[in-house]
Symmetry: D2
Subunit: 347 residues, 4 copies
């Protein structure tokens, strides 16, 4: 199989990472590299590391032409732009995999509480499939619009679903203390992300106000069978990549490490990209950065009746571009791991 | 006044930091620099940055001689060594300020649950004063043994005392998610702290098992008037200095930002080293690293009835050497801020 | 003595560092904090670490009012702004210490080859004293305009003057390979200094084209007694502070380490801020960052008839704000080291 | 083709990186993972990121058994161990690719001047092929012992060979100012590489005394047709991976950028792993880290008659494990780029 792909927003960090991964995918031809800001420029001028694409040129997106030459479109854009870009491709019947929050919500009203302006295409929003592959694999197989989930969201939902579904944790007590690398904030410079301000620093941001909270609550409420309020607090680390989440939950009744492991195994026993840690070891950023894997470890604190869950992923890969490729593989009937088996870099 | 000081363990990181601070203290003469491993070596051979002390020589500690030439001894040693070092100075009647956990506990049994072997000098342990200056200032003034508190402990206890004392938070729901720089682990190399393993990494460690937990619980239980169990989880950041704690608490009843601020102002309104943040801004590592200050900010999450407290300090200064100097100043009747007013480095 | 100082450009990194240093200077009152972009804002809103100044307000500069309330003005501005700011203070007879390249050149034509537009006040330029304290101390004592030298320049000129003056190195073979932290590029965000682009990176920049080259050549040519062409190549390190220069020179005749040391001692034997390294040890960034010191070490490579000189300083202190305070001390007859004796931070 | 490989020293950083690369090589089966220190341990216990190998066990090397089950042996060992390990495999006729300095020298006497003790198998040393693939491709095709070159060496020799061979630079004036990440120093902890000592630091080391100098001189002297003395000075950067070399040379006569480019194109026009930069752009660490590429850019400084060459590579890939795989591909008749086309990580 040879899938022709088009990448809108190819010069942003998520688009760059998608380009990097797809350049090594054995069943993909990169047909179009889109950029508004850098249309006309060669890849070499921006990203010398993409050697095999040096002479390729970034171009403006023309939906009709792109639809004619692409089998799938990836939209790596801010949510406002994605709302329209996805709609623009709709008439051509080519699947679109969107990286933004634009198509992740079941309910346009919930969308409107987290994003501005209100959704211009609520009909399309309802047709979109939430692209958390491990949980929505069957729907992804036939979806036209795949809403690739957020990085924090992926790390949170996959870590919590088994222990909520099994009743192991009290779902009204969940506190997610998240630590993330800087690349998730994108390529655009700002005072806060100027090197001297971020280097050797650590801080919380958007406390009690981060958009991903509503996305996490949407999905975990379905699992719990009731509306949940999740406390989600992100912190910025002085590293480029990776998310480590420490999730604090109350245990309604005593459990052993083996009990919790059984709940996870039931869900993820055969998942190629989810690794469960044995008692006594825990995930670290370095174990996942560079890979499409999500690592989960946990500690049962019997003294305080608490479960501490530690989940880690690469925000640019399993939290963005890698998961998008995973969805593409599923959508096109390829083995799900195709092009995605690189181990973490470690060093 | 001219205080002659002796520093045991002067070549470890805490001892080095103490040397750095005391070298600029206007009322201090550094009489003795102690080191077992480097006895006989010049300062220049180990620490070229200590220019004013280049020709000084590290020496073995002789309690009698040191007591004769020093007005105060700082013991920057592992706890086992501190237990004996403090006892060795006891006959000479010179105050000792100890950096380890050796003399921080009211109850030898509690000590023995966190540290090995059991305490050899429980009588001295009972005479020691817990050197959290803001809370034990009066006792420090006359103490012979000052047990300088731990870095996590200082950051936790000072942030939580006002909101526990005022009944603002439910003290049975406290979760401390701490992030620390590497210097707290000391100067000794190890696989885990080898540069390539720690750089670009973040991980939790000693989960549900960190020694500082019992020290935090000892102090906060006094404030609460009942035994508390605190969930304390430390994480390692790829930076040298600084601790940022995110403290998650449940609110038994609704409060405003102003209510919480009033509780803090009551305790710390006049404290020179504690800074309270106005609504809308929060502490960051960069705001405190290099200073002897503790910064506290908070967010009332009315949606989830939670209070999120953010406290930050430099683990080597307010969390160790700076606090020790603050205690020395109090003990010797100097203005408490003497030699301790350097602002954070920021860059 | 109580010197009232005004700081123009106080919110930039050099101005911030100057504020930090002066806030601890025993003979200084900070009378004015100037900022065009942040006029009207409180210090707390920008820099929470400057605790003692939290309620002070940044203000626009009015030359007449500032001259009336200040004994000395520091202009921490881009060169275009400095050219005019220095001139604006000239009528009031208060000394000005300028941080930019505006007043560093003997010859307006040389200035015009490195900076645009041509100098608007060549008469003032001729009256300015080059503020490299160790070499121009006597002139600084009475100067009205002190042109504080560049960071690379300080590191280069002080390292090379003794070995050129003594004839130890062939002055036509000098290659300076410089490595610098990011803070020297200032506070303004840019794509190149966005955290993810600079972290884990190293690159050369402005190769054969850096402005400081002409400043280095001006000063070293005077020492050599003939025009020199110096090869100067700066590299960006993923750290905030510090410059380390590796200077490669050819030896016209064989010399020993002791010979070279004698040349350095002759110049710097009594200098409080210059440290010479004994054979077998060399400066590192960590030895100087946080201090006003310049460290110099060297290796005689007898096999290749080369001298390798290693010089290091903190670009924000000895390379900018610290040197400016050193000049102020000299100009006002204070002990030269006043307020400048903090050792490097090391950790 | 399915090549069975054995990796001695698989738990060191070079062995780990080789394992990472080979785990994704389409024509390789990892038959043996060797380790003396960790024999009997599972991969998961040391390196959780190597998911596909989690249950594999590190084992002691038995030359006979390994030779029976492997088609090629990689020896990622200290030079003393490599000298013997290579010899131990010699009777079995399986090619060995060695990562150390043990078999890189033409002359045992030169080896003995850089390494201790003197070489125990000078006969084998003479049979070894220097595995700098771009320059020794034909010899590698049939070699039994491939001496994989050093990281600095690869970066230096490939950057200099074309301009020496063409007579563009004066080969007696070459100065290599090298900057390297920490991983090259290996996995073993030490005081100097303890995180707090290396973070935010930069320093030169082994000045005028680095072993790679003799290896660089051996190869470049052949190109020059006369013995060369090269000034080589390494510096340690606070990053994990990557080498950036700034090479300073004198031009005997004026040349243009195009002239120099022509010399490089002649050598490397078709090389898949060497990228030449157009005028106005230069390599950076970030362009190569994660890839098997060597990037070369340069500036002609007409004012000073100098050529500045900038070369960059990933010390663990093109400087070690990637180059070893490149040699294996050549030796086994596979396309040279098999398994080696991942672009640099950039973020």
């Amino acid at each position: 199989m040879n899938i022709h792909v088009g990448i809108m927003g190819a010069t942003g960090y998520a688009g760059l990472e998608l380009t990097r991964i797809l350049s090594g995918h054995p069943s993909v031809t990169i047909a179009k590299l889109g950029s508004t800001s850098y249309a006309g420029k060669k890849v070499m001028e921006l990203y010398p590391q993409l050697s095999s694409l040096h002479d390729r040129v970034y171009e403006e997106t023309d939906s009709e032409k792109w639809a004619a030459s692409c089998d799938v479109i990836f939209t790596c854009l801010p949510h406002e732009a994605s709302v329209e870009a996805v709609a623009a491709f709709e008439p051509y019947g080519k699947p679109v995999i969107d990286f933004s929050g634009a198509y992740r919500y079941d309910d346009p009203d919930v969308y409107a509480r987290s994003y501005q302006p209100p959704h211009a295409h609520p009909d399309l929003l309802r047709r979109a499939v939430y692209g958390l592959t491990e949980l929505y694999r069957d729907q992804v197989k036939t979806a036209d619009i795949i809403a690739n989930p957020g990085c924090f969201t992926t790390c949170s939902i996959l870590a919590l679903t088994p222990v909520i579904a099994s009743g192991i944790v009290d779902p009204d007590t969940i506190i997610i203390d998240a630590k993330t690398g800087v690349s998730g904030a994108g390529r655009k410079p700002s005072q806060a992300l100027h090197f001297p301000e971020t280097h050797d620093n650590c801080k919380a941001y958007k406390v009690a106000a981060h958009r991903h909270t509503s996305e996490i609550e949407q999905e975990l409420s379905k699992t719990a069978g009731k509306p949940l309020g999740i406390s989600f607090t992100p912190h910025l680390l002085p590293v480029n990549r990776g998310i480590l989440e420490t999730i604090h939950c109350t245990l309604p009744k005593a459990v052993s490490h083996a009990d919790v492991m059984a709940a996870y195994r039931k869900y993820y026993g055969d998942e190629p990209f989810i690794k469960l840690y044995p008692e006594g070891s825990l995930p670290e950023l370095k174990h996942v950065v560079g890979s499409n894997e999500l690592h989960i470890g946990f500690v049962v604190d019997a003294r305080l009746n608490r479960l501490l869950i530690f989940s880690a992923l690469d925000n640019m890969i399993k939290g963005a571009a890698g998961q998008a490729v995973q969805n593409m593989n599923v959508r096109f009937g390829l083995p799900e791991t195709t092009g995605l088996l690189s181990p973490a870099w470690y060093l």
